[in-house]
């Protein structure tokens, strides 16, 4: 527990003298340990590396084949040869339907069920970690992973794009051009949008994770739900239900690439995600607060 712990320790040392020290320490010590454990775990690192490999793969394929704008393939693919920065966008579009929910499902499904499966859950609770505190810390860990996964794709995309292709001012969907600073602001907004889109799935995974002591089951169920939601979203017969599906706005970040930025889908997505997080967070707490820990 070296760096994350030390960082958490330093933070604690600076607040523990005040009266609010105890309360804040409660949050930070376990959170630091959780994040340290999560991001030093080989599985987490492997998933992040796999996500980073997506833009690299795309860039290399485009570079080697020299395929320009044929008009087919995922959005932004055709623009890559003109501007390497579009590798990041292309990779995000490719990862959103499957790879991001898959990796997030692994982390979210593992939260409580993983601890229960190992038997460490009983020791955390006897330590004692309050059940609500543990849920919150676990969920923050999921959010951190969602953000890290998105940022990794974007950074790897920008890096490999700059390496293999010319880069320059980015032409937006609205036809306007933005400079480097404008591009980075939009990219940051986009990464936040994608991470935000995953908060509902994280909460669903957290809830499912409280139902079982078999982490693989919780992971699979979470990923399957993401798939089901996307399939339902494609059936025109069910269009009345589409705005309520947590995956509905996942690819709706195009508005961020216009000038001026259109915030409608950002707002609607945020509201929908908040609704899902509230409902499934409450369900997770209701289930976990009274659960008999028998593992």
């Amino acid at each position: 527990m070296s760096q994350a712990e030390a960082a958490a320790g330093a933070r604690e040392a600076s607040v523990s003298s005040g009266t609010g020290g105890i309360a804040r320490r409660r949050v930070f010590a376990l959170l630091g340990s959780e994040l340290g454990t999560l991001f030093r775990r080989r599985r987490t690192i492997a998933m992040l590396v796999a996500l980073a490999a997506v833009p690299v793969l795309i860039a290399i394929v485009v570079r080697v084949t020299g395929a320009g704008s044929s008009g087919r393939g995922p959005a932004f693919l055709g623009a890559i040869t003109d501007n390497g920065l579009f590798v990041a966008f292309t990779a995000l579009v490719v990862c959103i339907p499957l790879f991001l929910p898959l990796t997030l499902g692994v982390v979210a499904g593992d939260t409580i069920a993983g601890e229960a499966g190992l038997g460490t859950l009983r020791y955390l609770l006897v330590a004692p970690t309050g059940r609500l505190r543990l849920l919150i810390v676990k969920y923050v860990g999921v959010l951190a992973f969602a953000l890290a996964a998105t940022v990794v794709i974007v950074l790897a995309g920008i890096g490999i794009g700059a390496l293999l292709f010319p880069i320059g001012p980015v032409t937006l969907l609205s036809g306007d051009t933005v400079d480097a600073a404008g591009f980075f602001v939009r990219t940051a907004l986009l990464a936040c949008y994608v991470a935000l889109s995953l908060t509902s799935l994280g909460a669903i995974g957290l809830f499912i994770s409280t139902l079982t002591t078999v982490p693989v089951g919780a992971m699979a169920a979470t990923v399957v739900l993401a798939g089901v939601s996307q399939i339902l979203d494609q059936l025109p017969q069910l269009d009345w239900v589409h705005p309520w599906l947590f995956t509905h706005y996942w690819l709706g970040f195009g508005d961020l690439l216009r000038d001026p930025v259109v915030w409608d889908s950002y707002g609607q997505n945020a509201l929908l995600q908040l609704g899902y997080v509230t409902v499934f967070g409450a369900l997770a707490y209701a289930r976990f607060a009274t659960k008999d820990i028998l593992s």
Binding site: M1, E5, R42, L118, Y123, V126, D292, I293
Partner: protein
Amino acid sequence: MSALAGAPRASRAIGISGLTKRFGRQLAVDGLDLDVPRGSVYGFLGPNGSGKTTTIRMLLGLTEPTAGEVELLGERMPRASAAVLPRVGALVEGPAFYPYLTGRANLSRLDAADPRSVASTRRQRVADALERVGLTHAADKKAHAYSLGMKQRLGLAGALLRERELLVLDEPSNGLDPQGTREVRSLVRRLADDGATVFVSSHLLSEVEQLCSHVAVMRAGRLVASGSLEELRATGGHEAVVSTPDAGAAASVLVSLGLEPSVTGDVVVAPLQEAMAPEAIVAALVAADVRVRGFQITSPSLEDRFVALTGEGFDVAG
């Protein structure tokens, strides 16, 4: 609570009354009443499956009782978990760790999970706990590389991260070799000498017998005996053992005295009734011309008592 009137609050580390846990149609724990005095080393004995671990889970607030009350260090559980549990070290149903973390990192995480533990002294606390269980040399190995005995020690180290008033240890010697078992025993004794109350569950009588001042015996979810070791020994009946070549004659004398003897070769054994003086038996035997070569009053071993109470000698589910 009037039901918890067994001993004054301050002198009791654990108070359990009417504790019941039902899983579906099965009663895992059935109306358990138990008082564990402070400063005692209390053995919680019973075959596997007799409800010991379920009781411990309810003690620690991991499981909600179906009925009954639990008091830990004078406070009601599970309501007072946050205040009480930092003063309690626990080993529940075997140790459990993150296999991909080192022993040291595992303890550090456990320590961080306790909101009252101060981060700046964490490193030292973890090192001290490892030292106490003799794991310093393996502290930086990943936990999955630990042997069963090392895991057990690491589990004990987790229970000893802080000064504890009460230690609840579920089968602490499980998986340890004889040397390790001895070390655990001396560790528990040291803890008790330092004033901690130790509540040890075990299905092994020998372990409890060597460690504990008090003992409670469970069978199929019910308490069948409890008290100090001496009390438990004394409640078992004594037996008269007569060695004689005239076994048949001796047996009939004993029958005439109202006993129920059994004959094995030259030895006649009869459970004694409380009011009967041993010398009266000898006198009766001699008067009937039985050649008495040996006469002995034996107290049953604790093991005999254990088997009699639990109905089994082997550690199978009851």
